[in-house]
């Protein structure tokens, strides 16, 4: 099994490299000028902005592999950032305590979603749609339309654990992607997630603690969204209720582009994170092409469809 997934991720890597090669060629500068796309600071910028999606995509991919779907990460990102921002800027709490509180809000949101899915038996689509509204609404209630200026209160030159602040988000994303890639393929829990997504009844008969595993999946997904939220509040320097609006759909699209199937049982954490990079490169490069500004949403939509169709054609030929 594992080699098969690795092949799938190779496809996503190839798409990403092809995309980078294309923009490198298309945006090649006149002689003597520096390349506007292919340079170190720009690469870091892409990584930094993709990471917020990427961190949440780790959890979203696991939910999708288990046969569910999560519509709440965008709202939970905003709520966690707002809670951390409010406590830090207005509450006068220490930064670490404020961030932990933001994280705790994510855990709470995940617990509510998990209870709705596992105990009440709501379809994940409905439960997380509700959570999306609740979390976003709570963020607006807390901010009352203001935003919290976190960066103004951070000590100048602050480096958490010795990591420069620009590197913080990519570092967290890469760490989480690697850890959960290993968990999904080397741990019984990860295999149980695939089993539940493939056939929940058979998973139950096989002795998998389906309820517990599903509870942990929704807890994890919301917690990782909250991680993305507090990282965003530190990196971008503000807590604001309308941040990360619409991220949930981009995150789902990334997971799908990375090989996940919305009917469950198929996909990969690494693929989903690579998927967010594919969109990150698009969002970065398209505005640099004169006249393309208004086309970027349209192109993003086309890319999702083209990649998934290609993937299915290749899978069919593989059979």
């Amino acid at each position: 099994m594992s080699w098969l997934w690795r092949v799938r991720e190779m496809r996503t890597v190839i798409i990403l490299l092809a995309e980078i090669a294309f923009f490198t060629w298309y945006l090649w500068p006149e002689a003597g000028r520096s390349h506007p796309f292919l340079n170190g600071p720009n690469a870091l910028l892409i990584l930094k902005y993709s990471s917020i999606y990427g961190i949440a995509a780790v959890g979203a991919a696991i939910v999708i592999i288990s046969g569910g779907v999560d519509l709440s990460p965008g709202a939970v990102i905003a709520l966690a950032g707002v809670v951390a921002g409010k406590l830090f800027v207005e509450g006068g709490y220490a930064l670490s305590a404020s961030l932990l509180a933001g994280l705790a809000v994510g855990v709470l949101a995940g617990a509510v979603t998990a209870a709705l899915v596992v105990m009440v038996g709501l379809p994940p689509f409905i439960a997380t749609l509700g959570m999306m509204g609740i979390a976003r609404g709570a963020a607006f209630v807390i901010t009352e339309g203001r935003f919290f200026d976190v960066s103004g209160k951070l000590p100048p030159g602050w480096q958490p654990m010795g990591i420069p602040i620009a590197w913080l988000a990519p570092a967290v994303m890469i760490l989480l992607a690697v850890v959960f890639q290993v968990v999904m393929h080397r741990f019984q829990w990860g295999r149980a997630v695939y089993a539940i997504g493939g056939n929940e009844t058979a998973a139950l008969y096989s002795g998998i603690a389906v309820g517990k595993v599903k509870t942990s999946i929704y807890l994890l997904a919301a917690t990782l969204a909250a991680v993305a939220g507090i990282v965003l509040s530190v990196v971008q320097g503000q807590g604001k209720a309308d941040l990360a609006t619409g991220y949930e759909l981009d995150i789902i699209a990334s997971a799908v582009v990375g090989g996940a199937s919305l009917s469950g049982g198929r996909g990969s954490v690494l693929g989903a994170v690579l998927g967010t990079l594919i969109f990150g490169v698009l969002r970065n490069a398209l505005p640099q092409i004169p006249g393309a500004t208004f086309y970027d949403r349209l192109i993003v939509g086309l890319v999702v469809i083209v990649i998934v169709v290609m993937d299915q054609l290749m899978a069919r030929r593989g059979k």
Binding site: M1, S2, W3, L4, H185, R186, F187, Q188, W189, G190, R191, A192, Y194, A195, G197, G198, N199, T201, A202, A203, L204, Y205, S206, G207, I208, A209, G264, G265, R266, K319
Partner: protein, 497 residues
């Protein structure tokens, strides 16, 4: 001239060669059986006939003309109706809608001619002596009636060839008789029948000629009047099957499982029984007698209203199959598609999962699982292209072996088997029975639920008969016959024979 001819038909699914050069003919108006072990290629042959699979090589000829089909509707429009083993039905739609699905009668502007379709369905149901309303939702029908509605679907399009794949798997004897009476009537009206089954008595009852397949190749076409059952079995399996030896376990063996007064109304009530180490106990009863519910309650899928369960003398009550498996009680479920297999995972994972979960593993031990997986494939003689393939590439019989192997690998103390050989042919059935006996000989106690009476008679040391949720009585294997077991299962206690 022959009505239908298969000419050098080849078909492969990935590495599995399902058919390799099958040629035979079906005469006009005959009832022609296709028999063979699981994986022999019967179902593939029917799917080709139905137009849902295209052969890699070779062709089908209808009345001497080459058949080119790209979809099931092509077969229907040429007068070939196929009733598949897996009931392809729309449970939420009415009988009429199911009969006409995909080929509805429409008037001007695409409006459905509901009244016309309902009338034609009513006529046809009457012709089939089927007491069902055309408006009844499909899900409210019994398995037998659903099967007959599928036959009706084939007939409404005036088909000249009707092919049935294992139509009696979920039918009782009475329902089978009804189906056979209808098939016999159809044949007398000139319809050509193709009948695929594992059940040789049925084949001998209905068919004029019998085509035997083995490992995707054509073995021969036999005339019913010239052969006996043993000849057909030998042709299917390629060897003689040794008779079973009766080995009674010692009465002194320790009690493994004891139930007293276990009830879950309205499914079953007041069930008391004991299972000793090394014993195989059969539970026979008609569909709806509460057998499956009893097994599901034992492993904690349902809660019992009252009563006690003891394993090795200790009172237990489980809330999930996970807890049950950890205590050494394992249920091998009936439906391999829905309950038994994970089709998105490799065979290696499928075989290893229940054992790993029961052992409470945290990390997946890949190397160990590959070794034990290879051993299981060899031990159960599972025909697969390797451990990395998914279960959907396997034939039904091999899938069933995987289902049994994965749960037996947990090393259970008490084994609950629900229809362990459903839809499985003679050879695979024999191998599965051998494995169940071996597990018993190693000290496990087994409870086998089956509606296949010869299976119960051949496998069990004693037979418990269930009827309407209650235990009717017990018959020792030595005294059991099809007649006295069936009588007990269908009559009130104390009612005269």
């Amino acid at each position: 001239m022959s009505r239908l001819e298969f000419h050098d038909v080849h078909k492969s699914f990935r590495a599995v060669k399902a058919l390799r050069g099958v040629s035979f003919t079906v005469e006009d108006g005959e009832a022609h059986a296709i028999v063979g072990e699981n994986g022999a290629g019967k179902s593939t042959l029917l799917r080709i006939l139905a137009g849902s699979v295209t052969p890699d090589q070779g062709e089908l000829r209808l009345d001497g003309e080459r058949l080119r089909m790209h979809a099931p509707r092509d077969a229907l429009s040429r007068g070939i109706g196929v009733v598949h083993q897996e009931l392809l039905a729309f449970p939420n739609l009415s009988v009429t809608a199911n009969v006409f699905a995909g080929r509805e009668i429409v008037g001007r502007g695409g409006r459905l001619q509901e009244r016309v379709m309902r009338e034609r369905t009513r006529e046809l149901l009457a012709r089939l002596h089927l007491d069902v309303s055309p408006d009844a939702p499909m899900e409210s029908l019994s398995a037998a009636h659903r099967q007959l509605v599928q036959v009706a679907r084939a007939l409404i399009f005036e088909c000249r060839i009707l092919a049935l794949d294992e139509p009696t798997t979920s039918l009782t004897d009475g329902e089978t008789d009804h189906l056979f009476a209808i098939l016999e009537g159809l044949r007398q009206r000139g319809l050509t029948l193709i009948y695929v089954s594992h059940r040789l008595p049925e084949v001998f009852r209905l068919c004029d000629r019998i085509t035997v397949l083995r490992d995707g190749t054509f073995v021969g076409t036999l005339r019913r009047s010239e052969v006996a059952t043993a000849d057909v079995v030998r042709a299917m399996v390629g060897r003689d099957l040794p008779p079973r030896e009766l080995t009674a376990p010692s009465a002194a063996a320790a009690t493994r499982l004891a139930l007293s007064g276990l009830s879950r109304r309205p499914c079953f009530e007041g069930i008391s029984l004991t299972l000793r180490a090394g014993e195989i106990v059969g539970v026979f009863g008609l569909v709806g007698s509460g057998r499956s519910e009893l097994l599901e309650t034992l492993v904690g899928l349902h809660a019992a209203d009252e009563g006690a369960i003891e394993i090795d003398g200790r009172a237990v009550r489980f809330s999930s199959p996970r807890e049950a498996a950890r205590a050494g009680l394992v249920l091998v479920p009936e439906d391999r598609q829905r309950q038994g297999l994970l089709f998105n995972l490799a065979l290696a994972d499928n075989l290893a999962l229940p054992r790993a979960e029961a052992a409470g593993d945290i990390v997946v031990k890949r190397d160990r699982e590959r070794r034990s997986g290879e051993a299981l494939l060899a031990e159960w003689r599972i025909k697969a292209s390797g451990l990395d393939t998914t279960p959907d590439t396997l034939s039904g019989g091999n899938q069933q072996k995987v289902v049994l192997a994965r749960w037996l690998a947990t090393g259970p103390k008490v084994l609950l088997l629900d229809e362990p050989t459903k839809g499985v042919d003679v050879g695979a059935k024999y191998e599965i029975h051998g494995m169940v006996r071996r597990v018993a000989a190693e000290g496990a106690a087994s409870l086998v639920v089956s509606s296949d009476l010869p299976e119960i008679l051949g496998l069990a040391d004693r037979i418990l008969v269930m009827r309407e949720g209650r235990l009717q009585g017990e018959i020792a294997a030595a005294q059991a016959t099809e007649e006295n077991v069936m009588h007990m299962a269908t009559h009130e206690k104390g009612e005269a024979a």
